[in-house]
Amino acid sequence: MNVSGNSPARKLVYWGSHYLMIGAFVVFALFPLYWLLKVSVTPNDILYTEGVRMWPSRTTWENYFFVLTQSNFPHYFLNSVIVAGTTAIVTTMVAAVTGYSFSRFAFRGKMIIVALMLITQMFPLVMLIAPIFKILAPLGLTDSLTGLIIVYTAFNVPFATFLMQSFFDGIPKDLEEAAMIDGNTRFQAFRRIILPLTLPGVAATLGFVFTAAWSELLFALMLVSSESASTFPVGLLSFVSKFSVDFGQMMAAGVLALIPACAFFLLIQRYLVQGLTAGAVKG
């Protein structure tokens, strides 16, 4: 491609504006995160007195220290890890097998199931809180992590299924047929040939579901009342008291909460990039 012509000056302008735009976007996207970090290290006494500054004159770790040692935050954090982790794994496993069958088999009622799954994605979640509470309460699943996991899994399976299906669609079915002729059952062929090739898809699905469950607030707030089963987004609200908002501690908790999500994406990014670009090329 030779959009910019041949002169070095035009090339400079072309690439200069290219990077300028990317830079502007990155700044725009990351600024709130920067602010989160900045406030989290700002000592309480100068938070309001210094006015709007890009970086405080003094920094401190005391917000982090407080959050980690004096608050319930570590407990919320652990709850969130359990809920988001389990939801991601269970959802992805279910989505993998469902997506595979959608991709490979023609069966009676397939279109109905697909339609139903699409319909579930159309309702605002708020509408469903009351009925779900009514269903879970007698089962003893309100105020419990298990209940949250079930609800999150149910809500994420449809999208995750379609996501996985699109990845399976990209893998020729000749491959598992060859494996079946080579001596595999269909399930073995799925596990030993198809699944390894779908790892990028699995990673993308895991990442997507994990983030969704990690930051979910509505159900976590409505279905759980006790401290012991609260997840971290709910826990964040505990920094808001009747009379004040403890921004420093809240932000410190926020920064800490980013760590597992970042770690998770770091772990899967190799597959993720592969998967996203593969999808991009195929169009």
């Binding site: 060859a178 001596g183 059952t185």
Partner: protein
């Protein structure tokens, strides 16, 4: 190695019948080529033998055992796919040894088998590579190797050469034939390319619209096609067809009166009646150019196609395009009139209605049709 018997096999997708009662006996060690235009059901039949498609009705047996209900893995057959279907996350060696590993073959035995097959196919230097680092021809070889190492009851090929360029295809054709001679394994080979069918087959199975049209050796199929479909599908350049009426003249000579009134003598055709509407079938090499015009039928030259060894002369006869194959170098011009003559012993008479060939009365009863 084993024989394969297919009896009255039917395949339907919902209300659509794709295969209508296929009967076929494949001998132990035979190289069978299923040939026919795209969509005629060749792959479906092959996949039914492999166990990748259910059999709607009828039976398929391999080595005397009915396999209708057996999973592909229990049929002990190997298949080479058009796409090669190599496992992308495995090396060439792993691809080829996969089936043996699943059968829990001893490690040393697997290593021996791989070394041996890699040598036969010239893959020794590539064993550690991933499929994506191979050329099309090399991938094709790996796919062959993966089938061969297993020493299966039968080999199934689904258009294995159609993704290769012409030269490589020609080379692989001979190689597959040589391999077959060496291994002697029962093989079913699917192709839409009639040249592959002619050059490779012990017996050709010509298919059309889910029905077997004819089964026979390449020469049988070429020289005595059962019907117009087989006659037109096999052979390149294709056979010429001219409509006309069957005539029995006073002196008992028989022939076909073409629509422009010209008369083409033919051998008496079995079952043909006077004035019956028939189709004359003549291969390009069975029409001669008559230089002095003596006794020939006049035809206008439309195109002269030099092919190196030979020349293909396109003429127009009774409003029909006719191709003539000649080893001479023609010296006439386009649009000039020439005279041509049909080789009476070699041309075919087809019933226009049923499209079946009406063999000469002198030919022994043997044409096997579906």
């Amino acid at each position: 190695m084993a024989s394969i018997e297919i009896s009255n096999a039917v395949k339907s997708y919902g209300a659509v019948d794709v295969l209508h009662g296929i009967d076929l006996d494949i001998q132990d060690g035979e190289f069978i080529v299923l040939v026919g235009p795209s969509g005629c059901g060749k792959s479906t039949l092959l996949r039914m033998i492999a166990g990748l498609e259910d059999i709607t009705s009828g039976a398929i047996s391999i080595g005397g055992t009915v396999v209708n209900e057996l999973q592909p893995k229990d049929r002990d057959i190997a298949m080479v796919f058009q796409s090669y279907a190599l496992y992308p996350h495995m090396s060439v060696a792993e691809n080829m040894s996969y089936a043996l590993t699943l059968r829990k073959t001893a490690k040393e035995k697997i290593a021996d088998a791989i070394t041996n097959v890699a040598e036969i196919l010239g893959l020794t230097a590539l064993l550690e590579r991933r499929p994506k680092a191979l050329s099309g021809g090399q991938r094709q070889r790996v796919a062959m190797g993966r089938a061969i190492v297993r020493k299966p009851q039968a080999f199934l090929f689904d258009e294995p050469l159609s993704n290769l360029d012409a030269r490589l295809r020609e080379q692989m054709r001979t190689e597959i034939r040589k391999l077959h001679r060496r291994l002697g394994a029962t093989s079913v080979y699917v192709t839409h390319d009639q040249i592959e069918a002619m050059t490779m087959a012990d017996r050709i199975v010509a298919m059309h619209d889910g029905i077997i049209q004819q089964v026979g050796s390449p020469v049988e199929i070429y020289d005595r096609p059962a019907n117009i479909f087989v006659a037109s599908f096999i052979g390149s350049p294709a056979m010429n067809f001219l409509k006309g009426a069957y005539e029995i003249a006073q002196n008992d000579t028989t022939g076909i009166r073409l629509t422009d009134g010209s008369f083409v003598p033919v051998l008496p055709a079995r079952g043909a009646t006077a004035n019956q509407t028939v189709t004359l079938g003549a291969r390009p090499e069975h029409i001669a150019l008559v230089p002095d015009g003596n006794g020939g039928i006049p035809a206008r030259v439309e195109l002269i196609e030099p092919m190196g060894l030979s020349t293909l002369v396109h003429v127009s006869l009774a409003g029909n395009p006719v191709k003539i194959f000649t080893l001479d170098r023609p010296d006439f011009a386009v649009d000039s009139f020439i005279h041509i003559a049909f080789d009476m012993e070699k041309v075919h008479v087809f019933d226009t209605q049923t499209e079946l060939r009406l063999p000469p009365e002198s030919e022994p009863h043997m044409a096997r049709t579906a």
